[in-house]
Amino acid sequence: MPDVDIDLLERMYTTARTIRRFEERAVEQYRVGNIRGYLHLYLGEEAIAVGAIAGLEPDDYIVSTHRGHGHALAKGHEPGPMMAELFGRATGYCGGRGGSMHVASGALRNLGANGIVAAGVPIAVGAAMAVRQRGGREVVVDFCSDGSSANGVWHEALNMASIWDLPVVFVLENNQFAVSTPISASARVARLSERAAAYGMPGITVDGNDAVAVHEAMREPIRRARAGEGPTLVECMTYRHGGHHVNDPGLYLPPDELQRWKAHDPVDVLRARLLASGVPAGRIAEIDASVEATIEEAVRFAEASPQPSVEDFLAEVSAL
């Protein structure tokens, strides 16, 4: 087992737990009608965002996906304005104009979730180009999905990142399904990380349900990127805990497979690591309680927040 700093472990656990509880409460808020539209849940995949972002500096960028709550929370978005955005309220990160699929924050350097699968990949490469041109040392972490790797723009973007040695790390969240289509029906490679070879890029595959493993695996790619040595493809194996979005029961997921992955729950894995590192159960309970309070506060904040003003919106629009 890698030797991890206890503080870092606690922080990772707190973040994973925050994402988990944020989404569980979001589902509940969806059911009562406070949230509308698409809600793609990250339940079961939390370790990837947590592990991939743990080694970043605040100025580093991320590019997110349609399944982006975890990325945003791990990058430092506050649960209150996040929840408010899901509610479509004026206090949300996008003033209620974006919703779950479009959360972004310039200040936190999250270039945005995206409703178009794979579309964020060249955007990440572009951010890396901007960094290069101003002589910055920031790194861009691009979250992308198994489904996205079948899309043309993924190919184009990885190739460009490679030929120009741009400071980006592609974190491919392989949850093994695109909606109901298993990746085995969409690709004839055993590991999607093998595709990196087509761009002369290193590619590795890691247990995406173990935040520590992800964090460790990201060290060298982040170093490489920051040093100007080029991009890396890091495939993180994971699995959804349910359907494609809040309203999809996901009955097509083979029950035994689902069970196996649920038994390897990212939050549980981190809790076990904390216990194994000697952190007392009481401390973990404290963290859980504080996360609970934070999320409860977030839900209350969202509920209490005003709707965006229709008049302001109409005034903006005429200028477009």
Binding site: G96, R97, N114, I116, V179, A187, Y252, Q307, P308
Partner: protein, 330 residues
């Protein structure tokens, strides 16, 4: 006649055409066991097998291109794009390939391809899943564009589209799938290029298509109560456009309002307005007026979303303004 849902009508059309012609196949994302996001292909894979109901990777340009090639080589593919917004990933194949192939090949080749897709706002799906993009396709020589508003039209036009020898962009609306209507039990193919007067009237002509048509019918009902008689014309296919029926109506009523969900700027309503103004200038008692969406990406928030596209009240108010109010407006 049977009363069925729009999505069922589409499914029936697909099924009947697949039974009739073994060159017809369907391809798209999650259309097999899952039956499509809106259940239009529900059960078809069971009947026709995975060779004719094909689930694809997320490769929109690629599988639209596959449809083009299959069509040129003798099949009659029906390619499904989950959202019209995603068709933007495949524009080269639609515009540069499918639309131009017959012409560029000197008429030797043709592309009997149907692209079935779905657009429009109304479910808080935000800016990238709510667009009304028909004008992008209407302007492309070589494409036909179909936008049915009722189950009967959906069925009859989809059959016509599949039998057509040229590429057809067939645009459904996400708010229509669950609407019901009477559909003939016997086979009924609705020819492309024939408008349908969905409600006759005398004072003003109101042209609309797809989901906006349903709003216009409600508006016409409200206006009737005020003594304003509205003729509601549904072109059903934007290319070819049955301009003759619209002009004939305008010649009787002397007034035209065109309603569209798409943003006003650059929309099809402007095209119809320009065309009718040139052809029926002498008959017009005032300018053709458009009711249209705002020039904005569609917002996520429900109230903002509603404010960004025409509502029934907007149509009523506009028509009233054009005709001159007959009853005092509150």
């Amino acid at each position: 006649m049977s009363r069925i849902k729009y999505r069922q009508a589409l499914r029936d059309a697909l099924r009947e055409e697949m039974l009739r012609d073994e060159r017809v196949f369907c391809i798209g994302e999650g259309i097999g066991e899952r039956g499509g996001s809106y259940k239009v292909t529900d059960g078809l894979i069971g009947e026709f097998g995975p060779g004719r109901v094909i689930d694809t990777p997320l490769s929109e340009a690629g599988f639209v291109g596959l449809g083009v090639g299959a069509a040129i080589a003798g099949s009659r593919p029906v390619v499904e794009l989950l959202f019209i917004d995603f068709l933007l990933l495949a524009m080269d194949q639609v515009v540069n390939q499918a639309a131009k192939y017959r012409f560029m090949s000197g008429g030797q080749g043709h592309v009997p391809l149907v692209i079935r897709t779905q657009g429009g706002a109304g479910n808080s799906l935000a800016a990238q899943h709510s667009q009304s993009l028909e004008a992008m396709f209407v302007q492309v020589p070589g494409l036909k564009v179909v936008m049915p508003s009722t189950p009967a039209d959906a069925k009859g036009l989809l059959k016509a589209a599949i039998r057509d020898d040229d590429p057809v962009v067939f645009i459904e609306h996400k708010l229509l799938y669950m609407t019901e209507g009477d559909v003939p039990d016997e086979e009924s193919v609705v020819p492309l290029g024939v408008a349908d007067v969905k409600r006759p009237g005398d004072d003003v002509t109101l042209v609309a298509w797809s989901h906006m048509l349903t709003k216009c019918l409600t508006a016409a009902e409200e206006l009737a109560a005020e003594g304003i008689s509205v003729e509601v014309v549904d072109p059903r296919t934007l290319v070819p456009l049955d301009i003759a029926t619209i002009v004939a109506s305008v010649r009787r009523t002397g007034r035209l309002v065109v309603a569209q969900e798409a943003p006003r700027r650059g929309g099809v309503a402007g095209e119809i307005a320009a065309e009718v103004s040139e052809r029926a200038w002498d008959a017009l008692r005032g300018p053709v007026v458009r009711v249209a969406g705002r020039n904005t990406p569609i917002p996520f928030n429900l109230a903002l979303e509603q404010a960004s596209i025409p509502q029934i009240a907007d149509i009523v108010a506009t028509v009233r303004g054009v005709v001159g109010a007959r009853t005092p407006v509150a």
